[in-house]
């Protein structure tokens, strides 16, 4: 029983102190599972992270699910994922519920209007980080070509992102590797 409580705490604490999405609180998770509980060595954690990074989807839940399973079986997965996801999701439901209730009030209109430029900047910076990372790892030629091709496919010819992403995976497998 105690192991489930420990799994809960190991992922609950990083999830409520960790701001900035999954990647930002990986070091916090590492601290819990490597230092506090000693479930896994630092080397093994680094390997786990590398594998998680090569798969799609949110990072923290992949790490949490895997370690939860190792330490507590299926129930451990449930506990780890719950600890990671539920607290902030409940807060989200509560806050958006409030916002929706008062959505016709002029103050709420001002509130939601004001944050829009910040959101645009945030997404713009994220985009820049992806471009930059790509430029560092595969150079300017591949980066520019992939940007140009995906822009044309997505924005000009309105191809669904599924096909464009799968296409880029093939590009990577055959032309970059």
């Amino acid at each position: 029983m105690i192991i489930y409580w420990q799994i809960f705490l190991a992922f609950f604490i990083p999830a409520i102190v960790g701001y900035g999405g999954g990647p930002a609180f990986i070091p916090l998770i590492r601290n819990e599972v490597v230092n506090t509980y000693g479930w896994i060595t630092l080397e093994k954690f680094a390997e786990l992270l590398a594998i998680a990074n090569s798969l799609p989807g949110p990072i923290a839940t992949k790490i949490g699910g895997y370690i939860g399973y190792q330490m507590g079986g299926v129930m451990g997965v449930v506990v780890a994922l719950f600890a990671l996801i539920a607290p902030s999701l409940l807060a989200m439901l509560f806050l958006l519920g409030l916002l929706n209730k008062f959505k016709d009030s002029p103050r709420v209109k001002v509130m939601t209007g004001l944050i829009r430029p910040t959101i645009a900047i945030l997404l713009g910076v994220l985009a820049y980080e992806f471009f930059f990372r790509s430029w560092v790892s595969i150079g300017s030629f591949h980066t520019a070509l992939l940007i140009l091709l995906s822009f044309l496919l997505l924005e000009r010819w309105k191809i669904h992102p599924v096909y464009v992403i799968v296409g880029s995976l093939f590009y990577g497998a055959f032309l970059i590797a």
Binding site: I85, S88, I119, L169, G172, L175
Partner: protein, 189 residues
């Protein structure tokens, strides 16, 4: 329970999760594609509110968005459905295929694939940013939009202030009755 709706919720978030290479944030434009463009469960405005609040709370971003949108569209079952569709497939892959994965982890083919996706994700994030900026200009006019954008960029990128804090301050300003002209639909015409 509307089975067709739940199937759509599952498929939408499954696609967004399985195609988001590079962590949660890379799934944001994919969730936008599914939720706003494909299924039309939300307007751009609502989506940007969800994104803003998601950013100002701790924890993984994509499960917060998925859970909330799933709940709005399909109740408690929709919430569970969306969260599980986002998270479980890759957790299963992780647990079931860890042996195989660690053998291929250094393979140049896998590396090339993940590297080639990054610019595509960048383009999707950029066009989402552009569409929000355009909308902001529509609602707030050029002056306010540009001022807020420049200050956000300085605070966030150059002073390393957490975006949750910037969004919190703006929300508080609005809540306390701060004055900003928000153009209504009629005035825009």
């Amino acid at each position: 329970m509307n089975l067709n709706l739940q199937k759509d919720i599952f498929l939408g978030f499954f696609r967004a999760g399985m195609l988001g290479y590079g962590g949660g944030p890379s799934s944001i434009p994919l969730v936008h594609t599914e939720v706003v463009k494909k299924y039309k469960w939300m307007t751009d405005e609502e989506f940007s509110d969800v994104l803003a609040l998601g950013n100002s709370l701790p924890g993984p971003i994509i499960t917060k968005m998925g859970g909330y949108i799933g709940y709005r569209v399909g109740g408690v079952i929709g919430l569970l459905n969306a969260v599980l569709a986002t998270v479980l497939p890759t957790v299963f892959i992780m647990i079931g295929l860890i042996g195989t994965l660690s053998r291929f982890q250094d393979s140049p083919v896998i590396k090339g694939m993940t590297q080639a996706v990054a610019p595509v994700v960048g383009v999707m994030l950029f066009s989402l940013a552009y569409s929000f900026a355009k909308k902001a200009k529509f609602d707030l006019g050029w002056t306010v939009t540009l001022t807020l954008s420049i200050f956000s960029l300085i605070f966030y990128q150059f002073m390393n202030i957490h975006p949750g804090f910037i969004i919190g301050v703006l929300l508080l300003y609005g809540l306390l009755g701060g004055k900003v002209k928000v153009f209504t639909e009629k005035e825009k015409e």
